[in-house]
Amino acid sequence: MMPSDTYFTTPPEWHWLVILYFFFGGIAGGSYFIAALIDLFGEEQDRPLARLGYYVAFPATLICAPLLILDLKRPERFWHMLVQSERIPLPAFKWWSPISVGAWALLIFGLFTFVSFIGALVEAGVIRWAPLQAINNAVRRGRVSAAWSALGAAAGFFLASYTGVLLSVTNRPIWADTKLLGLLFVTSAASTAAALLLMLGWRRGAVTRDSLRWLTRFDSGVVVFELVALVLVVISLGSVAQEWLSAWGAILVVGVVIIGMLVPLALHWRPRLLGNLTIPTAGVAALIGGLVLRAVVVLSAQSV
């Protein structure tokens, strides 16, 4: 007797390109969200951290598109995701198909990240073109800017979480046996983005210590939430969770729980533990955890 009816299906052969897409999509969405949160509720001293978030979100989104396209068996037909190839130029859009919505989300979020990236460069004085500076001065701190940040953050979180929902909207073992992968991925997106911004902020020295302290506290809360989400995923899998009583489970415990969650938490709790290396160690550990999490979820379900 099979633990689930999902065991009669065929793996789609989604491998490292997809895993990397999930990882970078998460970092992009999470970074934008943190930057937007500062835009909306932060203080003036947090502006460098907000700009850093926008500097990360745009290139991370840019990486996503080629990863997705290269994963297609017919990459030259990538545009079929967005346009009905038999009825050009009618759009191809199915709200009930996560891949279809995700393709549009990547495009729309890409627009948000690009505009905010340029805005951050103008704000920092890297771009000194007068018309852009005028626009930036006119909209910054206004309702337009707030609405833009809020919508961009929503699009970013969509990009970070729909990948988990996409896996659940299949019939594969593990993926389709839980409804919580979107929740797990969105928490992991926030924690990996926070880890990367902490590392970059610490290294650049351009982010205030107060901002770093805020981000560390935020990250600690998110990592605890991520741990809870992972436990809930395992519980929701029921008897299918036995698939992780294997090398996959060991990788999950060591790579995700210990390295990706407990090590960063311990280093946040004891910030002087490794001296100057505390923040970069916590950051690298969290990033490794985020990548391993996606690798285990994606690959273990296809090895059943």
């Binding site: 009816d5 009669f8 052969e13 989604w14 509720f41 297609l72 017919r74 389709a176 979107g182």
Partner: protein, 282 residues
């Protein structure tokens, strides 16, 4: 729209000749496995093993032996795309490559598919795979080109025992029910239909346009007991994601608030240190 058509596969009269597989490959010009190399499964007389992008029909050999190998039973089933009444593959396909035809069958348009493979993971029966030649997802089309010319699909045409029967769904169901009754009257009490409305198995996907007469549990034939649509997880999965995003947002706001409180407390302490309260006494 024409009347829905499909297959009724009576597994009790299949003799495992694989004429259906050959006819399917020939008509649809499907390539040989592994470029024609002779690969053996090593665990069965069946070397095709499963349905995939190159094998749209596959005769399953279910070899049931007692532990001492004194008694044996072979169940044979010509497997194929089920052309689900509600098809999971069609549901998730982002490009519109998978369509429902005027015959109520499910067809993948090879010139539209871009090989994202969402349909492979969505199919509850493991029917679809990538064809290594076209590099697109492929499966049985129920010979859509032949149907348009009023012809019978190649597999049903070639089947020598009428294990694979083609026709309108209503007509096939009548035939199938009569056959089940006949088998039960003859003593095969385990005969039943898998893929018809109210069968207790495939109701979640509205039944199958390619349905089967079986004499053992569905899983013995490699069929799920309760095939489901992938979209069942869409709304709850999205709702949990939104809740997660909201909690993360609240964590961010809570962290801001904590910082302000700490700063305010630190200011109070500093203020107190700068202006110590006056000592009592005259």
């Amino acid at each position: 729209m024409a009347e829905p058509v499909g297959f009724f596969t009576d597994t009790t009269v299949c003799i495992g000749c694989k004429a259906c597989q050959v006819a399917c490959k020939e008509w649809n010009q499907l390539p040989a496995i592994a470029g024609g190399a002779n690969t053996l499964s090593g665990q069965s007389y069946d070397n095709t093993r499963r349905l995939d992008g190159e094998n749209w029909r596959h005769v399953k050999f279910i070899e049931q032996f007692s532990p001492d190998r004194q008694t044996a039973r072979w169940l044979l089933m010509s497997d194929v795309c089920k052309h689900c009444v509600q098809a999971g593959c069609l549901e998730v396909c982002p490009t519109g490559a998978i369509i429902r035809t005027e015959f109520d069958t499910v067809v993948i348009q090879a010139d539209v598919c871009n090989g994202c493979r969402a349909c492979i993971a969505a199919c509850p029966f493991g029917v679809i795979e990538i064809n290594p030649v076209t590099k697109t997802a492929q499966k049985c089309t129920l010979c859509y080109d032949r149907l348009q010319l009023g012809m019978t699909p190649a597999c049903a045409q070639a089947c020598p025992t009428q294990s694979i029967q083609f026709g309108t769904i209503s007509e096939l169901r009548q035939r199938a029910e009569a056959r089940v009754k006949q088998l039960r009257d003859l003593g095969e009490k385990n005969a039943y239909l898998y893929g018809v409305p109210g069968d207790g198995y495939t109701d979640d996907i509205g039944g199958l346009n390619a349905f089967f007469l079986l004499v053992d549990k569905p899983e013995v034939y490699g069929l799920p007991t309760k095939p489901k649509l992938p979209s069942r997880n869409l709304i709850p999965g999205s709702a949990f994601s939104v809740i997660g995003a909201a909690v993360i947002g609240l964590l961010g706001l809570f962290s801001f608030r904590q910082r302000r409180l700490e700063r305010s407390n630190a200011n109070k302490v500093n203020h107190t240190a700068d202006n110590p309260p006056a000592q009592g006494g005259a």
